[in-house]
């Protein structure tokens, strides 16, 4: 278990300062695939480097299983990193790279060899053992970097955007591979990415970061279905933002009145919900298209865009604003609607999310 408590990192002593991490606290459980997600410059890599030991935080605590990590130099932390650039040693072979950590731990040669062979098999690189790292492809280098970091059996594996240099198809394969490795080894993975899809498909839990602080922590479903604030809703997936008036709150259920005058029940934020004007987030695929009569919102169909797997309907709402719906396509079936039709937009009770800000 990693406990990060109030970690702050400020760069620049004199003159202008830059706060890379602003009072970040999070607890990462054992054997968890934990993802730090956010745009570039949000501090996710800095947080990873604090855990690895390459950055000393200005204040705060980092503990692994109750042991204070900040007291230890990087080479004494039971934590290994997969670097964004892989950082494979060019003067060593694939096998020497993988065995480096164990050699530095002064393990007996026989054990180093056995573990290297195991790791080579685990990442399916056995035939490449004697190659120089410059003689293998990007995807293979990625696998060697993984094997090298896993070989010393760290308690925690840190992954700094390890898939960003790979092409689309390879990235998909490696995502599945990473998941497999994590469940086979039982090691805690802390994964840094700016790719929301990558985060949603692989993670047990995601921390969404912005400007040095964590905005929301939760499971992929939680984060996607119930974003806490506009930034999270906007950063992950597509979202419709609706102006509404909050009438009353009962636990997690909130009664709101939409701009059209219709009333419905939605999810309230965890805390701080007050009656008055609020913003509502509704995912495009959570809403349904129907007739204008009796719908929550009514409007005119402005555009229909076919995407193969699904179709997007852009609706200009009465009283301003627009709403995008997404419907999965069925074989050889047209939607039966055309641009200019009057349509209604509805979503079931409990689907919309009232945002914190």
């Amino acid at each position: 278990m990693i406990e990060i408590g109030g970690v702050t990192k400020v760069y620049g002593g004199r003159g202008p300062t830059f706060t890379a991490l602003d009072n970040v606290s999070v607890t990462i459980r054992d054997n968890e695939f934990f993802t730090l997600l956010g745009p570039s410059g949000c501090g996710k890599t800095t947080l990873l480097r604090v855990i690895a030991g390459f950055v000393d935080p200005t204040s705060g605590t980092v503990a692994l299983d109750g042991q204070d990590l900040l007291q230890l130099p990087p080479y004494k932390r039971p934590v290994n990193t997969v670097f964004q650039s892989y950082a494979l040693f060019p003067h060593m072979t694939v096998a020497e790279n993988i065995g480096f950590g164990l050699k530095m731990l002064d393990r007996p040669a026989a054990e180093v060899k056995r573990t290297v062979d195991e790791m080579l098999a685990l990442v399916r690189m056995t035939e490449m053992a004697g190659r120089k790292t410059s003689e293998i492809s990007g995807g293979q280098q990625q696998r060697v970097a993984l094997a090298r970091a896993l070989a010393p059996r760290p308690k925690v594996l840190l992954l700094d955007e390890p898939l960003s240099a790979l092409d689309f198809k390879l990235r998909k394969e490696m995502q599945i591979e990473l998941k497999r490795l994590q469940s086979e080894t039982g090691i805690t993975f802390i994964f840094v990415t700016h790719d929301q899809e990558e985060a949603l498909t692989m993670s047990d839990r995601i921390a969404v970061m912005r400007a040095g602080s964590i905005r929301q922590i939760g499971g992929p479903r939680d984060i996607y279905d119930h974003p806490a604030e506009r930034f999270v809703a906007d950063f992950i997936g597509d979202t419709n933002f609706l102006d509404a008036t909050l009438l009353s709150v009962d636990g997690t259920a909130a009664r709101v009145k939409l701009a059209s005058g219709a009333e419905t029940t939605v999810r309230a934020p965890a805390e701080g919900a007050k009656a008055g004007p609020v913003t509502l987030a509704v995912r495009p695929e959570h809403a349904t298209l129907g007739n204008a009569d009796g719908a929550l919102l009514a409007g005119k169909l402005a555009n229909i865009i076919y995407f193969g797997t699904d179709t997007h309907f852009h609706v200009d709402l009465d009283g301003g604003g627009s709403f995008v719906l997404r419907q999965q396509n069925q074989p050889d079936q047209k939607s039966g609607r055309s641009t200019g039709d009057r349509v209604g937009v509805s979503f079931p009770a409990g689907v919309g999310q009232v945002l914190r800000d």
Binding site: A52, P73, T81, M104, K132
Partner: protein, 303 residues
């Protein structure tokens, strides 16, 4: 179609030779020519007042290693020459080691500064280069002579009563050469270090390597080409150094360069001087061969 019968290829080939002419002329006149002269002189007889007499002889080469007793005609090794050879090689090796020990951390320090400040640090390393060699050598002399800065300071501090004799010793020659040749070590090491990916150093720390082991297992192998280049750049001119051993060694601590100069000057034995020069060239060539082999291995490593 062969090249010779193709007019385009023939003209291209002629142009190539034409364009190469200046370089070839310079090489012939400035490198091969004088070398040939030295080679020929080494096989002639010395003239009475310097110069050579056109009478073939291998005495010059003979005297490099041997000497004939004036009275008994007994043949012995030329101890004086051998000790000078040995001192030259030893002092040059020591100079190389000292410049490496000082130059490597210096290069590392500069390479790890923020990019915009590295040039300033490099400038500080290069500035002494713009100063005349003789002046720099006299500056070292001023520091270490008996009434010099170091001795005066030590006496003033009460650490010693009598000045330490540093000038006109091997130590003085070493200090002088290490100071003069230091930039030649720093520059190539810095060049390799600047190209080095410092995330590899982090990877080393991350994989349980202590500072010392990161240095030994990661940094040194990666900057090895720079270290080899720097060592050659220091070792080769050290072997032939003339001004520094002359000024700081005081004519007593001769090195090869001084011995050669002696033969062309007071010694009036040009063939011996020429033969000694070629011997020096031979030692340098052997050193360079080592370099080429080491560099070739490095190439195979990365390729």
């Amino acid at each position: 179609m062969s090249d010779a019968s193709d007019p385009v290829a023939r003209r291209a080939s002629r142009n190539r030779w034409f364009l190469l002419t200046p370089a070839l002329v310079v090489l012939t006149l400035a490198a091969s020519g004088p070398l040939l002269v030295v080679m020929i002189y080494s096989f002639l007889t010395p003239g009475d007042y310097g110069g050579v007499v056109w009478k073939p002889s291998i005495d010059g080469w003979f005297s490099v290693l041997f000497q004939r007793d004036f009275f008994s005609e007994e043949l012995t090794f030329a101890d004086a020459h051998l000790s000078i050879f040995w001192r030259s090689i030893w002092l040059s090796l020591m100079t190389t080691i000292i410049t490496f020990v000082i130059g490597f951390p210096t290069a590392y320090f500069i390479a790890t500064r923020p990019a915009n400040r590295r040039d300033t640090w490099m400038l500080l390393i290069i500035i002494p280069f713009w100063t005349n060699l003789l002046i720099r050598t006299f500056a070292v002399m001023e520091l270490i002579r008996n009434e010099g800065t170091v001795n005066s300071l030590l006496i003033a501090l009460g650490i010693i009563d009598q000045p330490i004799q540093m000038l006109f010793t091997d130590f003085a020659v070493l200090v002088g050469m290490a100071y003069v040749f230091l930039p030649l070590m720093v520059l190539p090491i810095y060049a390799s270090m600047e190209r080095m990916d410092f995330s590899l150093v982090e990877a080393g720390y991350d994989l349980y390597a202590t500072r010392w082991r990161v240095l030994k297992n990661v940094i040194l192998p990666l900057v090895k080409p720079g270290v080899i280049a720097g060592s050659i750049l220091v070792f080769v001119p050290s072997l032939g150094a003339y001004v520094t051993p002359r000024v700081l060694g005081g004519g007593k601590q001769l090195m090869l360069g001084n011995l050669i100069e002696l033969q062309f000057g007071q010694g009036r034995n040009w063939p011996l001087g020429a033969a000694l020069s070629l011997t020096l060239l031979f030692i340098v060539t052997v050193a360079l061969l080592f370099y080429v082999r080491a560099a070739g291995k490095e190439e195979g490593h990365h390729g």
